[in-house]
Structures are given as structure tokens and as C-alpha cells.
Homo-oligomer: 178 residues x 2
């Protein structure tokens, strides 16, 4: 059992960094419901989890997660139909930060998202992206890039709109506001 506040930032990348033979996890996840709160099941390799999240303050959410047996995942999975996604997750440390790179598959193919968590808002605000992520567009505050929204609504032209945005002068803080 775990309970914590998430403080994170998230960017959409134009292309992945060289991943060579970095290890990754195949992730499948589906939502029972989502909105102000969400209930999710996830399979990562041979491990399955159930997670409850709840909106908290800006960019911070309550989260509880626990491993569940595979039969329980299989029992819940059919109830998530229409609210699912698949991705490959690469995780590694770079400097003081653990980076997570999600390469989406299936209906979300082509979407590449970089995410990292912080222990404090101070550490969050100071963070500078690695050079290889040049041109990344921050989507931390954009609800359309939340996994539960991507699972339910898909991309709906989101990438095209982002690419168009990238050619225009961008605000100093890379948040997509539209």
C-alpha cells in the first residue's frame, strides 16, 4: 500500500532519444472510471496493480496503489472496455532525476511522452530538460494528455495541433494553453 502526493511534469517529444537496448516494460492499463477521481488497473510485465487517484491541488494528486493477483486483473479488465491504452515504458536515471519515457502503441501510436516526478515544488520548478529533449512541449497542465483522457478519447488530432504550435513562437513556460 502506498499513499503519496504526485508532483510531476510531462512533455510531448517530437522523437524519442536513442534507446539502443534499454530495457522497457510493456504496460496495459484500463479505467473503471475517471474524472475528479479515477480507478485504474494496470499490467506491467508479470505484475498487476490497482490504483485510486484523486484530484488534489495543482499538479499534485492523492494516489493509492496495490499489487493484485493476475486473476483479479483479468476479472476487472473487461469492465474497462473503451477506456484502455498500451505503451512501452523506459525508465532510467539522468542526473538526480528518474525519467520515464512512454512510447504509446495501438490507437495512440506516434505519441511519445516524457515524465518525471519531484519531491518538492522547488525541485520541480528548477528542473531543466536534457539536451536530447530539445523542442519538447510541456503538457503538465493539459488534461487532454492525462492517461485517462488518452485512454478514453484517443489523440483526436492532438499531435497535429501540437506540431503546428511548435512552429509558432512559444510562451516562455512551455505549457500548452490554446
Amino acid at each position: 500500500m502506498k499513499k503519496r502526493k504526485e508532483i510531476e511534469r510531462k512533455w510531448v517529444l517530437a522523437a524519442p532519444p536513442p534507446l539502443d537496448d534499454k530495457p522497457f516494460d510493456e504496460i496495459r492499463q484500463g479505467y473503471l472510471f475517471s474524472g475528479a477521481a479515477e480507478l485504474r488497473v494496470r499490467r506491467t510485465g508479470n505484475h498487476c496493480f490497482i490504483t485510486v487517484k484523486r484530484e488534489g491541488t495543482k499538479a499534485a494528486r492523492d494516489e493509492w496503489e496495490n499489487e493484485i493477483p493476475e486473476w483479479a486483473f483479468d476479472a476487472i479488465w473487461p469492465e474497462t472496455k473503451g477506456r484502455r491504452l498500451r505503451k512501452r515504458r523506459y525508465s532510467w536515471r539522468e542526473g538526480r532525476h528518474k525519467l520515464e519515457l512512454d512510447i504509446y502503441e495501438g490507437k495512440l501510436e506516434g505519441l511519445i511522452v516524457l515524465e518525471t516526478e519531484f519531491r518538492s515544488t522547488k525541485s520541480r520548478d528548477r528542473f531543466v530538460l536534457p539536451d536530447w529533449a530539445a523542442g519538447a512541449i510541456e503538457v503538465t497542465e493539459d488534461p487532454r494528455f492525462r492517461n485517462e483522457s488518452l485512454a478514453q478519447h484517443g489523440l483526436r488530432g492532438l499531435r497535429r495541433r501540437l506540431q503546428k504550435r511548435e512552429k509558432e513562437p512559444r510562451p516562455e513556460v512551455g505549457v500548452v494553453t490554446e
Copy 2:
């Protein structure tokens, strides 16, 4: 985390035994979904739980349960609307068995159910009800008396039909077959 097979028997009682000042728990539970599998949240006193069950062989089911923080219960509860129930649960040992007596409230008021679990099917088959439960009608195999069914469909005249049945000669095994 717990995973086990449930082997249990269940009876509807005409009246509760003398409960004097036996302790009880106020239970509220609601279902995200139910059927061949179910996902439930329950609040018992100050403790909240999430439970996954799956149909197994006759009178035995897979079950996984874990305590969740109160905020997570509160986050999930709204999603169980229309599939909820309330009851007082009295638990005590009588001989070698732990008995659980559920006195339902709200829309299920008047329903009194006695339940006990067994370690083996042998022990289950040998079990004899206490004298004070004379006239009890076994509903172990009756899906209408499952909590998830009661939560969703209510009593729908079940008690009346059971009382009528009680006046007729009953089969040797007290299963309600109709």
C-alpha cells in the same frame, strides 16, 4: 493482501437470536460492477476495504481484499450509486465456528442473514445449525441472496415468498429452488 477460496453457507432467519449488547459493526458497501466477477468497496466502522471476487467452483469463490484509505473509499463510493447496501454485522464464535449475522437496513430492512465459513467442504457438509436458528431457510445457492444482487435489486418480494415456502413441506436440504 489476502487471497483465498470462500466455502460458506448462508441462511435467512425469521427472527434474530437474543443479541443483548453484543458488539456489531455498521457496514456500508457498494459495487462498481458485479456478475461472474465483482468489485466492491466496503466501510466497516473506521476501516475501508476494496475487494475483488470471481466465480469459482460451486460455493467457492476467489477473493482478494485490501484496506484502502478513507479518501479512496470516498472517491470510489459515488460510482456505486444504485448498487449499495447497509447492514449491522454481529460476529461471534459458537463451538468451532465463527458465525456472522447480518441485520440489513434501509431498503433491505427486515432481512436477517446468518453466514458461516468453512475450511473444507467436509466440515461444511457436517455443520448443524444452533437451536435458536430453527426454521432458518438455507439460501447458500440462491443468487438472489448474494449481497451484490440484494444491493442492485433489493428484496423484490423475496421475504414473502420465503415465508410462504416455510409453511409448505420443505426438501431435506433447505436450498430454496423454486
